[in-house]
Homo-oligomer: 416 residues x 2
Amino acid sequence: MADLHLLSPRGFRAAAVYAGIKSKQTPDVGLLVCEARATVAAVFTRNLVIAAPVKVGRERVADGRLRAVVVNAGNANACTGRQGEKDAYRMCDLAAAALGCETGDVLPSSTGIIGHKLPMEKVERGILDAATRLGDSHEHALLFADAILTTDTKRKAAAASFKVGRETITLAGVCKGSGMIGPRMALPAGGASLRKQAKARPLHATMLAYLTTDAKVPAPLLRNLLSSASDASFNAVTVDDHMSTNDTAALLASGLGPAIDSPRAAANFAAALNEVCQSLAYQIAADGEGATKVVIVHVKGAASDVAAHAMARAIANSPLVKCAMHGNDPNWGRIVSAAGMAGVPFDPDRATLTLQGTVVFRNGQPVDFDPTAVSQSLAATEVKAELSCRMGKSDATVWTCDLSKDYVTINADYHT
Amino acid sequence: MADLHLLSPRGFRAAAVYAGIKSKQTPDVGLLVCEARATVAAVFTRNLVIAAPVKVGRERVADGRLRAVVVNAGNANACTGRQGEKDAYRMCDLAAAALGCETGDVLPSSTGIIGHKLPMEKVERGILDAATRLGDSHEHALLFADAILTTDTKRKAAAASFKVGRETITLAGVCKGSGMIGPRMALPAGGASLRKQAKARPLHATMLAYLTTDAKVPAPLLRNLLSSASDASFNAVTVDDHMSTNDTAALLASGLGPAIDSPRAAANFAAALNEVCQSLAYQIAADGEGATKVVIVHVKGAASDVAAHAMARAIANSPLVKCAMHGNDPNWGRIVSAAGMAGVPFDPDRATLTLQGTVVFRNGQPVDFDPTAVSQSLAATEVKAELSCRMGKSDATVWTCDLSKDYVTINADYHT
């Protein structure tokens, strides 16, 4: 898959430029364009405090069709009131004019500092400039991937492909996310409840993901598939459990490839989508602010899916667990007690906990283990904690990272 | 109040000794004894993973009477299986024999490392030794206060008194808590549901509080008053949101002073109890692991008490908010967005946020303020964030602390 990238699926071009919004001189305005009217599905943050581009974006994907995404990094256009909404619309208008499409077919996104008006002169120049530089090369894909980063230290991309008959369907994606990561995104509700949504205003970091495919997929199916894939990937990654006001994941299907018109094709598509989304989610955890390792929390045999996810999330969000993982400390009591505070059925007397494959707790009792050996096994870039509950048949996985002093440095010094 | 202490209320004596359980040579076994059979009310952790002493303790307070508390620090007697329960009972048996009371009138408590059997030889020697050193001096009160500390850097005590007619009622307390602090304690349920509770096993740090009074209070009233006071104090303090398996707060009323037999006396008693509990909760936040300041989160005008508390807690638990407070950064977007993710009604367009008295956000819009001045105002040992919601009439206060690198040091290096 090494050669596949965001623009490998047929019908997509992208561009990104540095417009001077970020202090770091890396691309900060990007365009992702589909040459046809793509089918689109998108999930957005469920925070009641939402950024202007999320508010506008929910409208833009309502009809299931999209031509382009226009994005800036360095400023979240959040808590910016009515002017913020105007600016989000203006970004779309400009992109649409430059690309020769309807403004209603453009999805805006922003990420960066909160509570500051967008520097529209820079943004406008950036959009116009980017529109003249569109291409479908790997280089173009990488530039677009860079244009959505903020405190990220690494570019995040993934791709997969599968066959439908003799034809290949390609699925690819890029994302950003490092801090303020605790997304719980959902498909936008209908118009009525949309109007009830609180207005525009978030924070500084966020999760953004843009996915492309050349499959031809009906919009309702695309929405279902993205919603399921998000729940098992983006919505299962947490760095600091802080749901952002800008979290957005959008999947564009150009329809220039084979149709997803059989249960088997749909299953293959779902598998490829899950693979791409989980890879991206993993990359977010690995690049969590200050992270030195990914911590994979598996909960098995819970009484329900909700219970499994609640326990996995309680463990993954515990600062005590995250610090222990940072210190390679097999302090299993923190993990077991986190499961016990998740507010769902759990009986420690039936539970078994393994750290990196070593059983450390079983049936309510400590297990003799070599703490030095387990500690050494925790000194890895990927650590697995598996809690088997024997309460039922539901499993869940949540990805997180350790909590280091660098997290504090980054977030105590990120000045408004 | 400077002279009032845990043993000021009539009828109480205490002692504490160093028995060698903690590595730090400060007292680690303590006894708190009431010369009469005290009326008792106690609230315990709601974690499903509970320590042996909590399991035993719930039984011991069921009849509303108690003679003594026996406590050790340095070992939580948690996740220690059936042996742990035997050890908790044994602590009570020994204390009862030494004090000449029923073992059923002794409440055991433990705090410290999880998953290790109690060093019973040391504990036993400590209990017998302590029983020979009982006294009611301020010095005795201080020693007992020290005997419950683990990672705490400061002793925690508070007291209040009020008049009933010409007589004085005194109320006093000591507590411990620094890490693994996110208590949500409740009165124990009845026997049937008790048996359904998961068995014994916690962690390392915990919240313990012991309160004394010489008032004569009926047990049902005492339970109600403690439950209410806990909700507005201990259950509203969070360092890391990690509910411990050992959290316990017990209030002993010797009955040697005036009776609480009028609504007015009950109100005065409630006020004094709240004052003592809130002072102790504040001291826990101030001594949170790695803390450099207390952060007081006030939510006003929420739609319900549940909503007010949920928003205050979401703000107080956000690592991003806590890091911003550590860095004196008026990063109000983190606070507003934390309220928006609490899962309760909130409309940022109606909300106003003040930091140290300066309005930084109003009605969904940023407010021009001097960031340098506000940052300077945040460089204090006590910081107030007040979110006014205009959604209803409910208020809530949660106490927390900032998140510093020292928190990471303490918890990444606290080895099992």
